[in-house]
Symmetry: C2
Subunit: 285 residues, 2 copies
């Protein structure tokens, strides 16, 4: 008998429900909040209808989010890890940047930025602690889209040590280690000394780590140095420079790699230091 | 100058990123997990691109989810409240039901169901504690789609007391109060005695309550009695019967109301008890 009956489409029933839900947020005072909620609700309901979500799967989703919440501590933000490993942090950087042709690409800030890095002079090293990593110099010029020098631009730089950890994660490091703020000279040039960066795994001892394992994914990020570059009248650029010799460039656990940000760390004829060139193009506000 | 430059579309950049993210889940062993992740990721990335999510808004989202996680306790599941108040629990019920024409509509289970309610005889009351609410009798027949009686179907019934609380929430109530399992007679009929249900607010002292307040929404559910109806060879039906005289029928905080589930609690000529008729049609598995 049942087979002769008309099934009432789940989509039609859900459309009516979604309309009801959207209506309840029409009174939210902030128009941007209404816009965000409306888009988020449409996509969440479309997901449920599209996959035919079962109540058991819904419960598994609730349990997962609850476990992610439980894993959040002062030292580890598991929801940021979740956003990072689903590419949503990177997508947000892309959505919020409004990048123009020829400007240097931005990428994720990451959880290890700390404001107030020490001022360092042109050519100085960011190393305040012993580190047996290979020495490198990073050299470049900061310009506008037409190639004009930007003088006195600030480059805020941070990087992990050869033990894979950032100073902020590692009580054994001086808090200023591998951090520094540099200014460009009148010709837009900058130069800083550091160690060659090494890959590191993002924390994978929580539910996000279990998700990565279930998907057969690794938790590693390719070797990189963070830059935040700012100058009056220009958009602040949050980006990395990646080492072209690193593992994991094709499988960054947080999807931060952009091809235009990958540079060679080249041995120099006089030996000793590797040289990485990284020119930076800022766009106006 | 900048105005002459081509903007690099955020959507194009995000499409490439999304493809990368989807590729990393291709190795997940469970095909259903792959399907769920693929759909969820497409919708989440579409949301970020569509609204042009800013990093500040992203951070606000992270903070909100973290607060929801912190508010989860043994007594209160804030993620379920979030799902309920966004209509996602109701949408999941709809998506998973595959309802056919003429079958009784299902709705949300809610957080207050406890298995193992006491067996009660035809016509018995579910009241084990004193309650000064108006008395009501709920009477109906359980049939298949062709109107044939279903004998010995089990109706698992639960309801809040006149103080708004379910026994499971309220140490002052006997744990069996306003709960019971009834069997249909050979003609499919059932009858149970109870109190007229009253509206109640969902817990609104956490971040979900703050979200409701920000949207100008109230936390109330209209008066209802829960039913879980099961019989061999039929799909188990999880539903409510709503009181047509209740407030909040048009603004249920968890979007559980279906027009077909709203019935009158009518005064009887002999006085004393209100009568609610609720016929139930089950569909085969």
């Amino acid at each position: 008998m049942t087979s002769q009956r008309t099934t009432i489409g789940a989509r039609a029933r859900d459309q009516e429900l979604l309309d009801d839900v959207l209506r309840t947020f029409e009174n939210a005072e902030d128009p941007r909040l209404r816009e965000l909620l409306s888009s988020a609700l449409r996509h969440l309901h479309a997901f449920v209808a599209e996959v035919g979500l079962t109540t058991a799967e819904w419960q598994a989703g609730i349990d997962f989010l609850t476990a992610v919440g439980r894993a959040c501590t002062d030292a580890q933000q598991e929801f940021i890890l979740l956003s990072d490993t689903l590419g949503l942090s990177s997508a947000t950087e892309i959505a919020s940047a409004n990048l123009v042709q020829d400007a240097t690409e931005n990428t994720v800030l990451g959880p290890f930025y700390v404001a107030g890095a020490p001022r360092r002079a042109y050519g100085d090293s960011v190393l305040d602690d012993p580190d047996d990593g290979p020495r490198a110099v990073v050299r470049g010029r900061v310009t506008d889209l037409d190639g004009n020098s930007i003088a006195s631009a600030t480059l805020d730089v941070w990087q992990n040590a050869s033990n894979r950890l950032y100073a902020v994660q590692d009580p054994s490091q001086t808090l200023t280690n591998l951090r520094g703020r540099f200014l460009t000279r009148d010709d837009g040039s900058f130069e800083l000394r550091t160690i060659r960066p090494v890959p590191y795994p993002i924390p994978d001892d929580g539910p996000v780590g279990r998700m990565l394992a279930a998907a057969g994914r690794h938790p590693w990020r390719p070797a990189h140095i963070h830059f935040m570059v700012s100058a009056p009248r220009y958009q602040t650029l949050v980006t990395h420079v990646f080492d072209s010799g690193s593992d994991y460039l094709d499988s960054d656990a947080v999807f931060g790699v952009r091809d235009s940000l990958v540079v060679d760390f080249e041995p120099q004829p006089e030996g000793g230091e590797l040289l990485a060139r990284f020119d930076i193009v800022l766009q106006q506000r």
